[in-house]
Symmetry: C2
Subunit: 94 residues, 2 copies
């Protein structure tokens, strides 16, 4: 493993683990008022496409980072949609 | 440009543009209650590292996507820190 791959893995580690506190926060508080549903929907699609890109290019950091991030993002998106459409949470007023 | 690079650019487009509605939302509502500061701090560092990775590997989709995402993420992080430490916004209760 060369230093470029290590750099990529560290980058992947950050952008992947980054989603953990947000996922924990929405699960604990059951509040997603300030979160944008459009953002998490697009992130989820984008991360799934990045995963495919990582597989095709045989790029380990891109693959690993994005598959986990997509899963975490899916949890956050699920909570957002649940809060918005099932439990009837109000969005933040403008 | 081959189809793999197009896939990467589409993926980059999604994960980059994804941050736009979230950035607009926090700017409009001045509310970041449900956002995790730790998440945006780590995302910002991670996206900066991905940018470096894209430069070194000469990977256009990785570079382009992450440099713009890092900028948008920086705006959201700035708003979160401003709301939390300057305007004294309360976090969502658990």
């Amino acid at each position: 493993m060369d230093y470029i791959e290590i750099l990529g893995l560290v980058a992947a580690l950050f952008t992947t683990i980054a989603n953990v506190p947000q996922a924990i926060k929405v699960i604990r508080t059951r509040s997603t008022k300030s979160l944008s549903a459009a953002t998490y929907a697009m992130l989820f699609i984008g991360l799934a496409l990045w995963t495919a890109y990582g597989i095709i290019r045989n790029d380990l950091p891109v693959l690993l980072g994005n598959v986990i991030a997509a899963a975490l993002c899916g949890i956050i998106l699920g909570m957002k949609l649940w809060c918005k459409y099932v439990s009837g949470e109000k969005e933040d007023a403008e």
